[in-house]
């Protein structure tokens, strides 16, 4: 196995060129700092991100754009695209500019799993030209994974659809993490109120799929439902990849619930809703899901079994629609992408915009047309967002990263097929809705 000598030379050259390339890209990104007036990028914590004149501002997205939950991530990505479109103040399908620079989206996949948060987060964190990241779609990808990886580099991660309560719990909150989606504590409370008060049910079963999102909702639901005087007959769990839930549903039927609350993702939601009809002991038992289930795929996969199920998800707060922007936005969405496939595109739009506002506050424009954004200052600025008029309401960011309407969050419950997403009815109205603030929901 003697290799000729030139082989060694070629290998060496290859290795050297890799090293050189590595150094070069470092210079291209992190270097050029110190261009700012008051900020010394070489000493300030987490440094700065700098764009030369004419270079686009690069924004990462870490959303679920493949697999069964692609309907969720694609929908949020559309919201981000519309936000870029709206930078110039109008929806005209041509991107606008932010402080004199174009905006370029680097779209990564969060796979709706820890693995995606890890790989996508690492990829974005290692790119020094990424100004901030919009994501993740699924709480599993963010919680302890992407929020930490990006936070360690001083990159803000702002999610349009993470709802797990733990993400903004003071004990586990990463200082660079924010979200415009509602904290699940509110949704769990509203679902419990709806089931107990509106439907008058006293017994319910819950099924989660081990994701922080579903586990957070079901455990929150159990707490609030039992506070009201109801009983959770059984707390079950599934593997989201499993197609066969009949044995599970049969064993749940033995506990005689009046409703099954399964805030998971499709196809599990759809398959459970469908297979429930085949279980003798579950005649007349209702199925209820939350925003993870409420996607266009639910209608396709559940077929006629979708009718008569309940879905909860956040509604735009009444205050948010004052600006008249909501109508323009909805029209632009429909024109450019068709009917929404999930419920979080408005949250994604707002997430991008509060970041853009923060950039306007802290970015330093050089005389040569360059742009310097100090990372720590950007984070501080976005956390100071107060009374921002967004599509989902008047947003204020609090120190644990919840950027929502602090006045009250409006959660609606829909009786299918009346659901305002593709496959349902675009003009559907909720059969129940309740406004709560986070502190009200937590009862503190």
């Amino acid at each position: 196995m003697r290799k000729p000598r030139w082989f060694a030379v070629v290998t060496l050259l290859g290795a050297l060129s890799l090293v050189a390339a590595g150094c070069a890209s470092d210079e291209g990104g992190g270097g050029g700092g110190g261009g700012g007036g008051e900020v010394d990028c070489n000493t300030v914590e987490f440094g700065c991100v700098t764009y030369a004149s004419g270079e686009p501002i690069r924004v990462g997205t870490l959303l679920a754009i493949s697999g069964d939950v692609a309907t969720l991530g694609d929908d949020s990505l559309n919201g981000v695209k519309l936000a870029v479109d709206y930078l110039d103040g109008k929806f005209d399908a041509t991107p606008g500019q932010l402080v004199g620079h174009d905006v370029q989206i680097d779209s990564q996949d969060d796979l709706c799993a820890k693995e995606g948060g890890q790989s996508g987060g690492t990829k974005l964190a290692s790119d020094p030209t990424i100004a901030w990241v919009i994501g993740t779609s699924c709480s599993s990808s963010a919680f302890g994974v992407a929020d930490k990886i990006l936070g360690d580099k001083g990159i803000v991660l702002i999610s349009p659809s993470n709802t797990a309560a733990g993400l903004t719990d003071p004990a586990t909150h990463n200082p660079f993490y924010l979200r415009t989606a509602q904290n699940d504590a509110i949704q769990a409370k509203v679902v419990a109120d709806f089931v107990f008060t509106e439907l008058g049910f006293k017994t319910a079963a819950t099924i989660h799929d081990e994701s922080p999102y579903a586990a957070g909702l079901t455990s929150g639901f159990k707490t609030f439902f039992e506070q009201l005087g109801g009983t959770v007959s059984v707390e079950e769990a599934i593997q989201s990849t499993d197609p066969d839930f009949k044995p599970l549903l049969t064993s749940i039927a033995q506990t005689k619930p009046e409703l099954i609350y399964a805030p998971d993702f499709n196809p599990a939601c759809a398959l459970m809703a469908k297979q429930m009809l085949d279980i003798a002991g579950l005649k007349g038992v209702k199925f209820m899901g939350s925003d993870g289930c409420a996607a266009s795929t639910f209608f396709d996969q559940a077929g006629s079994a979708a009718d008569g199920t309940y879905m909860s998800f956040p509604l735009p707060s009444p205050g948010g629609s004052e600006s008249g922007l909501v109508g323009d936005y909805n029209k632009a969405y429909k024109d450019q992408f068709g009917a929404p496939t999930a419920a979080f595109n408005t949250n994604a739009f707002d997430a991008f915009n509060i970041m853009a506002e923060a950039v306007k506050k802290v970015a330093i424009e050089g005389d040569d047309g360059s742009l310097t954004i100090p990372r720590a200052a950007l984070k501080d600025a976005v956390f100071q967002t107060k009374d921002y008029q967004g599509l989902t309401g008047t947003l204020t960011c609090i120190s644990t990263g919840d950027c929502q309407s602090q006045a009250a969050v409006n959660i609606g419950v829909f009786l299918l097929p009346d659901l305002p997403i593709e496959g349902g009815n675009p003009d559907a109205k909720p059969i129940f809705s309740e406004q709560l603030t986070l502190t009200e929901a937590l009862g503190t």
């Binding site: 493949s66 697999g67 069964d68 692609a70 309907t71 081990e210 707390e235 079950e236 769990a237 599934i238 593997q239 990849t241 499993d242 197609p243 066969d244 009949k246 044995p247 599970l248 049969t250 064993s251 039927a253 033995q254 506990t255 499709n266 196809p267 759809a270 398959l271 469908k274 085949d278 279980i279 003798a280 002991g281 795929t297 396709d300 996969q301 559940a302 077929g303």
Partner: protein
């Protein structure tokens, strides 16, 4: 004299079945534990008799699907001593081909006007799709490597599996889609006083018929005889004038056919198709084949049945009484733990030759 006695002692010691003793203690311990857990569950009285009956029926129906796919693994293994990991994808492609036919039939209204003809058409489409992929797979990925070391086709099989999976993903999109089925499949039939879902009854009957037909084919026909001859010894069989290539292709055709039937049965029960549906199901079916004894047709059927029953009944039976939260989530743990146990006692599987074979 002394050395002779010493030698005998050493021999006795060497023969002392420590391994077997450990096995027996382990086995008895597990059986006692399982019996205790089952007793606890039953004494709680949470489950009605009807519920247990339903769980058994669900398990048998799921097991029948596993068995049909497992037969494909087992037959290819019997002939080529190779594990065709892409078999789950053969199943998935059959399901997808019939999905597009089903959509067309649904849109034209044919599915509702003559549902039984439609089911036959879907079956033919799925079988054609699966056979096509299986034969192509054999020709492109496996035949050139027929005489390569045994690890090579194994790796190729995994590669082929990923290729087929991601091709489907590229063509049809990553999401799971709803599969339209005729309304006549909804509802239940009452058989011997027991209400059974129509789809499940069909699955069990079709799987039974197909397996009986396969057994007759292999044992009674000339082609079946040549398949057995090649399984016994490829080289001698070819010396006896058997066209080995043809027999191998026939085996893949049969495997594809069974996968196609399984695909239609699966979509009738679950009414969804997706590019990754074959992967987990393929692993389960492979497990069933190993459990029953890979290479044995009856073993694949038995293994599928046992795996289906375990997944359906075992979590409720063994875990509810012990108050373990979320028992049904652990169904795979139980099923695979039992696989390991069976292999400790019978390395060749339940109906296998009793001899472990290196892959």
């Amino acid at each position: 004299m002394a050395t002779e006695a010493q030698g005998a002692a050493v021999g006795r010691l060497a023969r002392f079945p420590v391994r077997r003793a450990v096995q027996w203690v382990l086995g008895i311990g597990i059986l006692v534990g399982a019996a205790y857990a089952a007793y606890r569950t039953l004494s709680l009285g949470l489950f009605s008799a009807a519920a247990w009956r339903d769980l058994v029926v669900f398990g048998v129906a799921q097991g029948a699907i596993y068995a049909l796919i497992a037969l494909g693994y087992t037959m290819v293994y019997g002939i080529l001593r190779m594990i065709n990991f892409a078999h789950g994808e053969v199943f998935m492609w059959g399901a997808f081909v019939s999905y597009f036919v089903a959509r067309t039939l649904q849109n034209s209204g044919f599915m509702q006007s003559s549902p039984y003809v439609a089911i036959v058409i879907l079956l033919v489409a799925a079988i054609a799709g699966s056979i096509g992929v299986a034969v192509l797979l054999e020709r492109v990925a496996y035949r050139p490597l027929r005489n390569a070391p045994r690890l090579v086709p194994l790796i190729t099989a995994i590669g082929a599996s990923l290729f087929l999976q991601n091709t489907a993903r590229g063509f049809f999109g990553p999401q799971t889609r709803g599969y339209p089925v005729p309304d006549v499949l909804g509802g239940t039939w009452t058989i011997l006083g027991v209400p059974i879902l129509r789809t499940q009854a069909i699955v069990i009957v079709v799987a039974l018929v197909v397996m009986i037909a396969l057994t007759l084919f292999v044992s009674r026909t000339k082609t079946g005889k040549s398949i057995r001859a090649v399984a016994e010894d490829k080289d001698i069989a070819s010396l006896m004038g058997i066209d080995v290539d043809r027999v191998v292709v026939t085996t893949f055709v049969i495997g594809g056919m069974l996968a196609g039937v399984a695909a239609v049965l699966f979509v009738m029960v679950f009414q969804v198709v997706g590019p990754f549906m074959g992967f987990v199901l393929g692993i389960k079916a492979f497990t069933a084949a190993v459990l029953g004894g890979i290479g044995s047709i009856a073993g694949a059927a038995l293994g599928g049945l046992i795996l289906g029953l375990l997944e359906s009944v075992a979590p409720s039976l063994f875990l509810t009484g012990l108050h373990i939260p979320g028992p049904n989530q652990l169904k795979d743990v139980i099923a695979f733990a039992i696989l390991v146990l069976v292999l400790i006692f019978r390395p060749g599987g339940l109906l296998g030759t009793g001899e472990a074979e290196k892959v």
